[in-house]
């Protein structure tokens, strides 16, 4: 861990009175009196822009960058986020002038449009969906787009279905998106295997007012629902549609496709599954893919990925309307395209397999020490629990202590169906050495919880700031100094 600078202040507090090195050239036009140009009530005496020499600014931001942590610094096992390494070649490609200095309103953009057409064809092969819109700016925006399509589909057919089934193992945004689109939510509790109880699903569908299901698969427990074909069959039997939350597609790449499992709509998180800088690093992209029968509802612009479909015959007279200006977050599409083309079919399926292997390797090593509520082979991630921890040690304590070892913490307290959850997703990026370092650190922390629980409870000790008072910050926030 880097030595902490003691005088780390905001740049605004760093005014150097003697600094005259402010780079503003001498005036070479006649000067005017400010009062004559600007009304007095708009003038102020004090504008606290720091007057700092260039070298101090450079040091300030270099210092901040050094206390940052990203996947370029080390393993980033933030479950549900797929924090994989972003190959630098993607950045090189997206900065090519043909992609970076174009504008959507210029007359010729064939290269960019061709890239999106080809990307939709590649995503068709990967997911089995027929057409895509790249408008959604992130996963939840994709969910909302999908729910609008679903709603429009039933309205068009004169059908009053107004409920959506969301299992309790779904991403938290699923019920929020369905609700925003005007549906009410039926929550289904997972069974003891972390899967959908089929009888209850059928019972809910029989009511006749259920428009469909939103399924996160693998779910937030990192488990693949083994009844997935039966689930889509039941929903279709009662004229519902099946929505696939593809945020967790990583382990399935090149192995199996939601389109083949009977799903009608899905969204992808290009910014997770297909690299691209995400987290704090850049905008997202949550394309929505649909089966042929739903093309008429797509927002514009859209792309037909399935080349067997006759584009001439397409009519989108029932489009849900625009979801975002222009073409979506185009730079993310370029990176995802570059990633897919660089890996190819074999490379992608290796990504899927290694992400599962890495997660299971960690699961196996850690379950000897930590409580694993769902004892099964997992997919890309798994969830431990702080249950049975000695001395009232919590998931938060463990997460804070991990920071002391120079590792980013796993996701904590999600999913809600596991008490004191620690959700770990190593991704395929990590080497065995990196996985072992993480596992050994977690085991060491487990031993610390028994030998020196107070020390763990007060962690972190080596970070620039210690344990923050999250409760006070939430109860009495100071939003302005």
């Amino acid at each position: 861990m880097k030595k902490v600078r003691e005088n780390r202040n905001l740049i605004f507090t760093k005014a150097f009175e003697s600094a005259e090195d402010n780079y503003i050239p001498d005036l070479d036009i006649p000067s005017s009196n400010l009062d004559d140009i600007i009304p007095k009530n708009l003038l102020r005496d004090n504008l606290p822009i720091p007057d700092v020499p260039e070298v101090e600014i450079v040091r300030h931001y270099t210092d901040l960058s050094q206390i940052n942590y990203g996947v370029d610094s080390g393993i980033y096992p933030l479950g549900s986020c797929t924090m994989k390494y972003n190959p630098k070649i993607n950045e090189k490609i997206v900065k090519l002038p043909g992609f970076s200095i174009i504008h959507p309103l210029q007359k010729k953009n064939e290269g960019a449009i061709l890239l999106m057409e080809e990307l939709s064809q590649l995503l068709h092969k990967i997911t089995g969906m027929d057409a895509f819109t790249f408008s959604p700016a992130a996963g939840a925006h994709g969910e909302l787009t999908g729910m609008f399509i679903l709603k429009k589909f039933f309205e068009q057919n004169g059908n009053q279905k107004n409920k959506i089934i969301v299992p309790d193992s779904a991403h938290g945004t699923n019920p929020a998106s369905a609700k925003m689109a005007g549906f009410s939510i039926i929550e289904l509790n997972s069974n003891e295997h972390g899967e959908i109880p089929l009888e209850e699903l059928e019972f809910a569908m029989q009511e006749g007012d259920v428009a469909g299901i939103m399924l996160t698969n693998p779910n937030t427990l990192g488990l693949f629902d083994r009844n997935i074909l039966k689930i889509t069959e039941i929903v279709h039997k009662y004229d519902g549609l099946c929505y696939y939350d593809g945020a967790n597609l990583n382990p399935m790449l090149g192995i199996c496709r939601p389109g083949d499992m009977g799903f009608d709509i899905l969204h992808l998180n290009l910014h997770k599954t297909f690299s691209t800088p995400h987290g704090g690093g850049g905008p997202g992209s949550g394309p929505v893919g649909i089966k042929e029968g739903l093309i008429q509802f797509l927002p514009e612009p859209y792309f037909i990925g399935n080349e067997k479909i006759d584009k001439e015959k397409i009519n989108i007279s029932h489009s849900i309307g625009k979801m975002k200006s222009f073409w979506g977050n185009f730079g993310i599409l370029v990176r995802a395209y570059a990633y897919i083309r660089a890996l190819g079919k074999n490379g992608l399926s290796r990504v899927g397999k290694v992400s599962v292997l890495n997660a299971n390797y960690l699961r196996k090593r850690l379950q000897e020490f930590y409580h694993l509520p769902y004892q099964r082979i997992c997919q890309h991630e798994f969830v431990l629990s702080d249950k049975n921890f000695p001395n009232k040690i919590t998931a938060e304590d463990i997460a804070k202590r991990i920071l002391d070892y120079g590792i980013y913490a796993p996701t904590v307290y999600f999913p809600l169906i596991v008490d004191g959850a620690l959700m770990i997703e190593p991704t395929e990026t990590e080497s065995k050495e990196a996985l072992d370092y993480f596992a050994e650190t977690m085991i060491r922390i487990y031993q610390e919880t028994q030998n020196k629980p107070e020390f763990v409870h007060k962690a972190p000790h080596n970070t620039p700031v210690g344990r923050l008072d999250a409760v006070l910050a939430a109860r009495k926030p100071v939003l302005k100094e």
């Binding site: 999250a470 409760v471 109860r475």
Partner: protein
């Protein structure tokens, strides 16, 4: 089990309690629920005068760990909310049955009380949850 589950209250399986006074009820979350949620930082209340049917979510309780819905244990109309909570959400943690009550309601249908749990039954439910 170290939770305080008073005998004079009725309970819902989703960890709400109700104290009955004539046709009115005072509602809140149980000691077990506040402990599971952790430090509560905010409660979003319904409007006074709003009517809800039993099991509907009427408020959202936000803790440092999670945001949980608060379901009304029986159908009724909100006649008062506990304003104190806005300023001091920690009351729900410190005194879930007294200072940390959430709302006063006018019951729509007294017979719904029969579907609620007694303190004994509620204690066996949470014991089971703790075992799982």
């Amino acid at each position: 089990m170290d939770y305080n589950i008073p005998k004079n209250l009725k309970y819902s399986p989703s960890h709400e309690w109700i104290l009955i006074e004539n046709e009115e009820g005072i509602i809140g979350i149980t000691d077990y629920a506040q402990d599971q949620l952790g430090d509560i930082v905010y409660v979003e209340f319904p409007e006074v005068g709003e009517e809800f049917s039993n099991g509907e979510s009427i408020a959202e309780i936000e803790s440092v760990k999670a945001v949980e819905e608060f379901n009304i244990p029986v159908s009724g109309k909100i006649i008062e909310i506990n304003d104190e909570i806005n300023e001091n959400p920690e009351l729900v943690n410190e005194s879930p049955y007294e200072k940390g009550w959430l709302a006063r309601i006018k019951l729509a249908n007294l017979s719904e009380l029969e579907n609620l749990l007694s303190s004994e039954n509620y204690i066996s439910q949470i014991n089971k949850e703790l075992e799982d």
